[in-house]
């Protein structure tokens, strides 16, 4: 879990899973018992979705907040989100580009391995538009594109862990 001086590994295998925790409301149980992931699982921080890559993490790892995330505000107290789901989406399910239906510059999506000291597997999906990195959430302001992006991820995601379920 800790980085321990290990390097950034920029390559992602197509079948590598990306784990993310989500509120139980973001999961629907279908009539056949299958669990469907809904797009709200990919809501918070959509301009740089925070995940952990399976090459260096187990699904359960995403239930812990990082205490060394440089984005933490002063006084941030890391929590354990044991009662949330953990979902997984394959690296090759992340769209590479999406074009706004109304025209304009394409959005480009790129996986970035961005380790924290206490979370070596930490990964983000960067979003760029017109060659510019969208590093603030408000900059990803095309709701049309955002909904397409979130829905694609949701449709490709599967549930890895249910609330309170421990790693098999």
């Amino acid at each position: 879990m800790r980085r321990n001086g290990r390097p950034v590994v920029p390559e992602f295998a197509p079948a590598e899973d990306l784990y993310r925790r989500c509120h139980p409301d973001a999961i629907d149980t279908l009539d056949d018992g299958e669990l469907r992931v809904l797009s709200t699982a990919f809501d918070k921080g959509v301009h740089a979705l925070s995940m952990q890559r399976s090459a260096f993490a187990q699904a359960d790892f995403v239930r812990w907040d990082s205490a060394t995330d440089p984005g933490n505000v002063a006084g941030f107290v890391p929590q354990l989100w044991r009662d949330w789901f953990v979902v997984a989406v394959r690296a090759d399910a992340v769209p590479k580009t999406l074009a706004p239906p109304a025209g304009g510059a394409e959005y480009l999506f790129t996986l970035r391995h961005k380790p924290f000291d206490d979370s070596y597997a930490h990964t983000e999906i960067e979003v760029m538009k017109g060659g510019k990195l969208l590093d603030k959430e408000w900059q990803f302001n095309n709701k049309h594109v955002k909904l397409i992006y979130q829905t694609i991820l949701a449709d490709k995601a599967i549930v890895s862990l249910k609330p309170d379920q421990v790693q098999p």
Binding site: H23, D25, A26, D28, L30, R36, L38, S39, T40, D43, K44, V46, W81, A93, P101, K143, H144, L147, I148, T151, I152, D155, K156
Partner: protein, 237 residues
């Protein structure tokens, strides 16, 4: 106050025979707090020629008097079927109201008319948990981890759409709160689903997915709600 109260609709502008100038949006907007309260409002514009309403309440502000003398003023080709106005927040007193009773009024440039006067339709109990969920989302605890709490226009628009589904063939499986948005989630056959998405900004989108990543996203507004709901119904059938 519920929309059924609008069966006793007292209109402020003139009479059928001698209509006074309609109250303009400027005049209505000049009404000062505290008589003006939160909620959706529809404003009438001078010279508007209105048609009979579709079940649609989201296109603008509604003003209504409190107590036994509710008032509705309508803008932009809308009138309000009484059964569909049941959850509007109605609360403004406007001076000069002519006391008359109207159900499903149609407001026209030169007057208004009564379309019919059936009693309010019975309550659709299927809607209650959906409406209650909206209240819970708006007023209950909200983890910042989930993004910005849905509020205002997102809640009201979703509420109006739920009410428009009264007695109809489709209902959302779930009402979801997300980052600055409310989602009405309709589950269909063969993994298909539709989300009607309502943002705090007032924007609305319909997302149709086959459940496998093939999807269509389009913006909509409440003026076109009937056709949107027909489309949802056809997709999830």
């Amino acid at each position: 106050m519920t929309l059924q109260a609008i069966r006793r609709l007292d209109v402020t502008f003139g009479t059928e025979r001698d209509p006074s100038p309609m109250i303009t949006s400027d005049a209505v907007n000049s009404i000062a707090a505290p008589t003006r309260v939160a909620g959706r409002y529809i404003v009438v514009d001078q010279g508007s020629c209105l048609q009979r309403a579709v079940p649609n309440l989201g296109a603008g502000p509604v003003f209504a008097g409190a107590g036994d003398c509710p008032l509705i003023i309508i803008k932009d080709g809308l009138s309000i079927p009484s059964a569909n106005a049941a959850t509007l927040t109605l609360a403004v007193q406007v001076a000069g109201i002519m006391s008359r009773e109207y159900v499903d009024p149609v407001f026209m440039a030169s007057g208004y008319e009564q379309i019919h006067s059936e009693p309010p339709q019975s309550k659709d109990v299927r809607l209650e948990p959906l409406l209650q969920k909206l209240i819970t989302i708006e007023t209950g605890e909200w983890a910042a981890e989930r993004g910005t709490q849905p509020s205002g226009p997102a809640i009201r628009s979703a509420q109006n759409v739920i009410l428009a589904l009264k007695g109809g063939p489709i209902l959302p499986q779930r009402v979801l709160g997300g980052d600055e948005r409310i989602i009405l989630y309709f589950r269909g056959k063969d993994r298909r689903y539709v989300n009607l998405e309502f943002f705090n900004s007032g924007e609305m989108f319909v997302v149709k997915s086959n459940g496998h990543g093939t999807l269509h996203v389009g913006a909509f507004d409440l003026l076109h709600l009937p056709s949107v709901l027909d489309d949802v119904s056809a997709y999830v059938a």
